[in-house]
């Protein structure tokens, strides 16, 4: 019985060690810091070179003609980070659209990874905000933010 207990203990130990080791090594490559623009730009030096997912609202989108080169800004709470990207952008990527952008900060510019722009897409559970006054006044819990 003690032998069996020891075997179980050893096997469990091996599994846990392997699991934690694998998890640690795979996480080193696969993780990104998720930050809002203001959190990053309050002290940008701290984030230079780190893999980031920056959350904010797109603005000043410009596009070099006959190319896939984009420059835009991402704003949140009064802070702005400028970004550069080469590639195709999502359908809903426009001025004032809410975006999460993956990339690395080089100097004060965010260099966006390939396919690194995610524009928030509609969900089944989100109602669009009222378009005009004809929408009337809502009764009950006016949770205009959607669900």
């Amino acid at each position: 019985m003690p032998n069996q207990g020891l075997k179980i203990l050893l096997t469990t130990g091996v599994f846990i060690t392997a699991f934690v080791g694998l998890m640690w090594t795979t996480m080193q490559d696969g993780t990104q810091y998720y930050k809002h623009v203001d959190e990053v730009m309050v002290d940008p030096d701290q984030w230079v070179g780190k893999r980031l997912q920056v959350h904010g609202f797109a603005s000043d989108i410009s596009w070099k003609p006959s190319s896939l080169d984009y420059r835009f800004a991402i704003e949140n709470n009064g802070y702005v980070v400028h970004a550069e990207y080469t590639g195709i952008v999502p359908d809903t990527f426009q001025d004032e659209s809410e975006v999460v952008v993956s990339g690395r900060l080089e100097g004060d510019v965010l260099i966006v990874e390939p396919d690194g722009i995610m524009a928030k897409c509609p969900s089944k559970y989100e109602a669009k905000p009222a378009i005009d006054a004809s929408a009337g006044t809502e009764s009950g819990d006016a949770d205009g933010a959607g669900n």
Partner: protein
Amino acid sequence: MATIGSYTLLAAFVACAYAIAASVAGARRRSLRLVESGVGAFYTVTALMTLASSIILHAFVTEDYTIRYVDRYSDSVQPLFYKLTSYWGGLDGSIMFWVFLLSVFGAIAVKTNREQQRELIPYVVAVIGAVQLFFLFIMIVHKDPFATYLTETPVDGRGLNPLLQNPYMAIHPPSLYTGFVGMTIPFAFGMAALITGFLDDSWLRAVRRWTMFSWLFLSLGLTLGMIWAYEELGWGGFWGWDPVENAGALPWFTATAFLHSVMVQERRSMLRVWNVTLVILTFFLTIFATFMTRSGVVQSVHAFGEDAQLSMLFIVFMAFILIFSFGWVIYRLPLLRARNELESWASREAAFLLNNWILLFAAFFILFATMFPTISEAFTGQRITVGPPFFNTWMVPIGLVLLLLTGIGPLLAWRRSSVSNLVYQFAWPVGLAVATAVGLAAIGFRVWVSGLCFALCAFVLGTISQEFVRGASVRRGATGTDIVTALVGLVMRSRRRYGGYVVHVGIVLMFLGFAGSGYKLEQQVMMNQGDEVELGRFLVRYERVSETDDGQKQMITGHMTIFKDGQAAGELFPARWFFRKHETEPTTEVAMRRSVSEDLYITLATYDLADQSAAFQITVNPLVNWIWFGFTIMALGTGIALLPESSLAFVSAKVPTGAATTSLLLVSLLLGGMGTNVNAQIAVPNGAELTAGQQRLEAELKGELVCVCGSCSHLPLSTCTCAVADDMRLRLNRQVAMGQDRDGVYQHFIDTYGSQEPIGAPIGMFNQLSWLFPMLVGGACLVGVGFVALRWSRRDSEFPESLASVPADEQDQQLEARLDDELRNLD
């Protein structure tokens, strides 16, 4: 109407509360009258929820925008189909739809098990009622779908988002809900067994089919979601490990584990605690997944709302589920002790156990990785996210091991396998896998993970074909029939076992599709008129970009000419549509050239109408269609496993020699004939006079062009009966009458409708079939459900006496044991 709706929900809440109280009190006092009244109240909830559903559907159809929910998710120009599906288009309605489904499923489950599971029924009613009560409570106090505007009434609704106006997206949520809600029934029976202490295997028999049924719909929902993402979102993939996708997959893993481990309990009386734990976990994960996607606890590219009040309600409910359920499991541990022990690791039960551990690990890994940003923020204050590469690093090997076990399980005997038995069983499949691996290496396959996956697919297919061939040979020897009849008889006699094998074939085909991703080619490119791009075997030439408007939307269409292996292979028309009221949310209309071996997939990104330049994403997705095809086979297998037992055993026992072969021939002839007749039924109203040649061309084009109404799954004009199709047929008739040839008509339709959509794909039949697959599966599922419900509703006395005297499961087990023995004797 809104007031009636609100009061109906309130009445359902009261009836539900009474059903719970009366059932529990009746069971404790042993009062049949109380129990009966509880069950009656339970049925009343079903009736009330049906009424509430009818009211909201009526409001959508009649455009009653005084109801806030109707205003938010529909508008007057929305086709009727999408008005109806808007019922589950938002949170409030989806909760009501959830309760409606649960009330219907609960009523069927109680009705069909009332005699056999007399002791359990009061608690089954109480548990299902408690879940209903929770969702009804949310609706009444927080998310009333019948809430109205206090002041002005909107003249028109805001409309469902155009991205969601897609047939797959319309069916995907109810499929997923059916799967989620269906998992409540096994949980209710499991809890009733724990509460009453009747923990023999009879509760498992009551829930096995429900689990299978729910699992099928969960799989259907996940697959439809993948197809929608692939065809509608235009990013070239089908699964992105987004929290909303992961949420649906979580209970799928635990339910799959249960479907396997339940066999171990039935055959060996082992894993009793494990099985009841899996049932609880599966149910818990359905609720947790709902919480994840509605509470705002995880960040997603999908815009979830953040609702603290709803989160709190869910957290309390989930805590209650865990404490209540596992409290009873701990209390009943002495009764749940296994009656046998694992005799050998070289046994089928050991393989199932391993498969269960891995499936459970997969579920918890996905849960952990999905919640990781929230967990990391809670512990470190830093929100750290993990992306698809992290998921893939873990899930690819997990998937491959599961695939391997899919092949190994059926080869092992129950209890233990001897060395000679192992050699006999493994020789052919292993040989096939090695030959595949060597062959792939010889022809220079470069992605080793995909190569390994292909070899494992060969291994599993080898094991399954071996099982079928050996089984059919034994049966042919015993019955003297031909091999096809023997095969059909074999499947009919042991539907669960062979249905399961067919499911495994489907899984293998899906893995082939997944493995194809290793060879995906992708290019994002800015093109000017006449530019060409080469990708794999394809050459894509950009011709021009055009702008059209059909009154409902503005359409920007790219015109591309395709060459494959140097030969012209048709044209593709990727487009972007800008719907009225949704101009800021253009939809990507993907253009695809589909085939069995690969899809050429083109999306239009940006464009400049003045200088005619445009940016495209061009992707070659090898083997991707095998995923959808694999699912269809999987659904077929589940259907076989769900088929009624006694009646079909009776039928198959009476089948004369060669009948199956003849029947198959007749069915194929009949199906061929039906296709021609259906096509001839549609006539063009006020059509122009045509010459014989023009009539022939018109008939051909009716079969090639597809309806663009968006609600009929792109049926050919020859079969679609909607008003849009009428208009398109009239347009076609006029074009042909004007002397246009095929290309001219095509061009006219492209110009009119703004993309390749009415043209379908160059490989018409395949494309149509791929659209039809999920619909066929959905239809088959409904027929299957009806069939099963009919079967369950029958009483024993309706069966032939000879069969009624022997329980179906016993027959199954006897047959399987005999077959196993016969196969072993061949050794």
